[in-house]
C-alpha cells in the first residue's frame, strides 16, 4: 500500500533537460501509465523512482517519506525491464529466487515462493532451463515472476511488452492487468503504445519533452484530450486533425472543400473528429463530401480514408461496406462530437460549456 509523490522533479543530463518540474501523485494500488514518444522523459522518471537515476532537483517520496537518498537496493521496488534483465548464468528458478536469496530467506521457503510465482505466470515446466533456452514471451514471464516473488512497495515496468510480437503482446497485456488486479501493488508502467496505456491504466500521464501534458483516466483522455497532440496520440486510429479556415462565408478545408459546421471563432483552426464519430450518408444529410483515397477491411469494421487538403481523414464504417478508389462519398457527423484546436499552439478552443 504505497502512495508515491513526485514534487518538482527535474533531471538534466549534461545540458539536456530530460524531465522538467514534474509533479505527480500516484495513489496506493493505482496502475499509472507514463505514456509518450521516445525521449519524452518517461523512462527517466521511472528510473528516478527506482533509484537508478538521481533527481537533479525535486523530491520523490513513498507514503510521505522522502526516498531520494535511499539507494535502489533498499527502496523495495520491483522492476521489469524492456529487455528482461535476466541473469544469463542462472536457471529460471534461480532467477526468480534471487530477490529472496538477497533477503536471506531460507531455501525451503524460497522454493515454495518460486513455485507460487512461477505458477502465476505458467512457468513451472521451465524452472530448470536457462534464459537463453526460452522464447521472448517466456523470458518476459520470468522477469514478471521475479518481480512478483516478493511483495514490493512498487512495481515498475519499463516497456515490458515492446520486444514481443503483436499477438503475444495482447496476451501478456491481459496477464499483466490480471496480476496487477490480484496483487494490488502500486504500479508505474512506461510505454509508448497508447493501446497498452488505454487498456491497463487507472490513470495515464501523457508526457512530451519532459513535462506531463495531461494526467487523467484513459476515458477522460480519450473523450476530452487536453490539446491536439494528445488527441492525435490517443486512439486507434488516432483522432483526425483537419486544418480548416473559418470566415463569414463558412468553414472550408485547406483545399477549399466546404464543411457544414459552426466554428467557435473565425480564422484558421484545427478541427478534430474521431473516425467512429462520422458516418457515410446520403448527399442531402452530408456535412462534407470527398473522394475515397483508400479503403481497408478490418474484419469487424472498415476504414475509409479521404483527403481534405494535406490531411488524411479516416472514417470508420460498417463491416459490410465496400467502396472503390475515387468513389465520391458523403460524410456526416454530430456537431457535438467535434473538437476545436488552435492551429499553431494546438490548444483546445472550447465552445461555451462544451468540449
Amino acid at each position: 500500500m504505497t502512495q508515491i509523490s513526485l514534487r518538482g522533479l527535474h533531471k538534466t543530463f549534461g545540458t539536456t533537460q530530460v524531465v522538467k518540474d514534474l509533479n505527480l501523485d500516484i495513489a496506493a494500488q493505482e496502475f499509472l501509465v507514463l505514456l509518450g514518444p521516445s525521449g519524452c522523459g518517461k523512462t527517466t522518471t521511472m528510473r528516478m523512482v527506482a533509484g537508478l537515476e538521481h533527481a537533479t532537483h525535486g523530491e520523490i517520496s513513498f507514503n510521505g517519506q522522502r526516498v531520494n537518498e535511499i539507494p535502489t537496493q533498499q527502496r523495495d521496488v520491483a522492476m521489469v525491464f524492456q529487455n528482461y534483465g535476466l541473469y544469463p548464468h542462472m536457471t529460471v528458478a534461480q532467477n526468480i529466487a534471487y530477490p529472496l536469496k538477497l533477503r536471506g530467506i531460507g531455501s525451503a521457503e524460497r522454493d515454495a515462493a518460486v513455485l507460487r510465482a512461477a505458477a502465476r505466470v505458467e512457468l513451472e515446466p521451465y524452472l530448470h532451463r536457462h534464459p537463453r533456452e526460452l522464447s521472448g514471451g517466456q523470458r518476459q514471464r520470468v522477469a514478471l515472476a521475479r518481480s512478483i516473488v516478493r511483495t514490493p512497495k512498487v512495481f515498475l515496468m519499463d516497456e515490458p511488452l515492446s520486444n514481443l510480437d503483436a499477438k503475444l503482446r495482447v496476451a501478456m497485456r491481459a496477464e499483466i492487468k490480471h496480476l496487477a488486479h490480484e496483487l494490488q501493488v502500486t504500479t508505474i508502467y512506461v510505454t509508448h503504445d497508447q493501446i497498452e496505456a488505454m487498456t491497463l491504466a487507472n490513470r495515464v500521464a501523457i508526457m512530451k519533452d519532459g513535462v506531463i501534458l495531461q494526467l487523467a483516466s484513459p476515458e477522460e483522455i480519450y473523450n476530452n484530450p487536453f490539446n491536439a497532440y494528445v488527441a492525435g496520440f490517443i486512439g486507434s486510429p488516432a483522432m483526425n486533425l483537419i486544418p480548416v479556415h473559418s470566415d463569414g462565408a463558412g468553414l472550408n478545408a485547406e483545399d477549399g472543400t466546404p464543411i457544414q459546421a459552426q466554428a467557435p471563432r473565425q480564422g484558421p483552426l484545427t478541427l478534430g473528429i474521431r473516425a467512429e464519430d462520422m458516418q457515410l450518408c446520403a448527399s442531402s444529410q452530408a456535412n462534407f463530401s470527398a473522394a475515397i483515397y483508400a479503403f481497408e477491411l478490418l474484419g469487424d469494421s472498415t476504414m475509409a480514408t479521404i483527403k481534405l487538403g494535406g490531411a488524411s481523414v479516416v472514417i470508420k464504417g460498417d463491416k459490410h461496406l465496400r467502396l472503390q478508389f475515387g468513389e465520391r462519398v458523403h460524410v456526416r457527423f454530430d456537431a457535438a462530437r467535434l473538437y476545436w484546436f488552435d492551429i499553431d499552439s494546438g490548444e483546445r478552443v472550447r465552445p461555451l460549456g462544451e468540449r
Partner: protein, 294 residues
Amino acid sequence: MPQPPKPVTNKPALIDGYRAPVNEQVAIWLRQMLVFVGISAIALPIAWITITAFKFPRDVYSLDTALIFTPTLENLQTVFDHPWNLGSKILNSFAVALGTVLLAIPMATMAAYAFSRFDFRFKQSIFMLVIASQFIPAAVVVLPYFLLFKQLGMLDTRSALVLINMSIVLPYAVWMMKGFIDAVPIEIEESAMVDGASRARVLWEIVVPAALPGIITAAVFSFTLTWNEFLFALIISKQDALTLPIGLIGFRTERGDLWELMAAGGILITAPMFLISLLVQKQFIQSLTAGSVR
C-alpha cells in the same frame, strides 16, 4: 546403371567441367604456400624440440638420425637430477604463475569493472596510463627493480617475482577484461540492484559469472605470460627462486650446448601450457566470439 560416386576433390572447380582461370589458380596456389610457410614457422621448432628431447646426444647433430633414431627417456630424467634440478624450478614457475594469476585476476576484475561502469575524473587518462605502463621497455626498469628488491631484502624470492609479474600482467588483464565487462548488458546489473543486491554482490554474483569466459581467457593469458617470463626472473632470482626459463640457460655449459636436455626442458615448459589451452579452448573460443550472438 548407378553412377559411381564422384571423387571428392578440394580443387576450386566446383562445377563439372569448370576450371578456374590460370591467374586464379596461381592465387590459390600462392595462398596455400603462404599458409604452409606460416604453419611451418610455428610448428617446426616445436616438432624439432619434441624429437630432440627423445634423442641420445650422439644423434642430435647427425643428419642420418634426423628423423630415424633410437628413442630414449633418459633426457627427461636427467633434467631433474643434480645439477639441473628442473623439479624445483617447475615448482617455482608454477608457484609464481599461480600466485600472480590469483592476485592479479580479482584485482583486474575490480579495476576493469570500475573503468567499465563508473564515471570519474580523468578516467580515460588513467586508463591510458595503465596501458602505457607497458610501453616502457623491461630493460629500463629491471635495474630499479633489482635495487628495490635488494633494499627490501626480497632478492631471490618468489614473492618478488609475483609482484613484478603482476606489474606486467595487470595492465593487459584490466584492458582485456574491460572489454568483456563492457559486453555484459547493464540491465542485468540494474535488475540485480533493484532486486536488492549491493554493488559487491552485483559484481561477484552477476557480472563475474556473466563475464566468466572472458575472465578465464584473461587468467590463462596472464598465466602464460608469467610462466614464460625470462628477463626479470634472470635478474631477480639467483638460486632459490629460479624459474623454468632460467633453468634452460643452465644447459649452455663449457662442454657446449646440451641440446637434448634443453629440448627436454622445452617440453616441460610447453606441455603444461598446451594442456591448459586444450582445457580452456572452448571457453576461449566462446569469449572470442562474445557478443556475436546476443
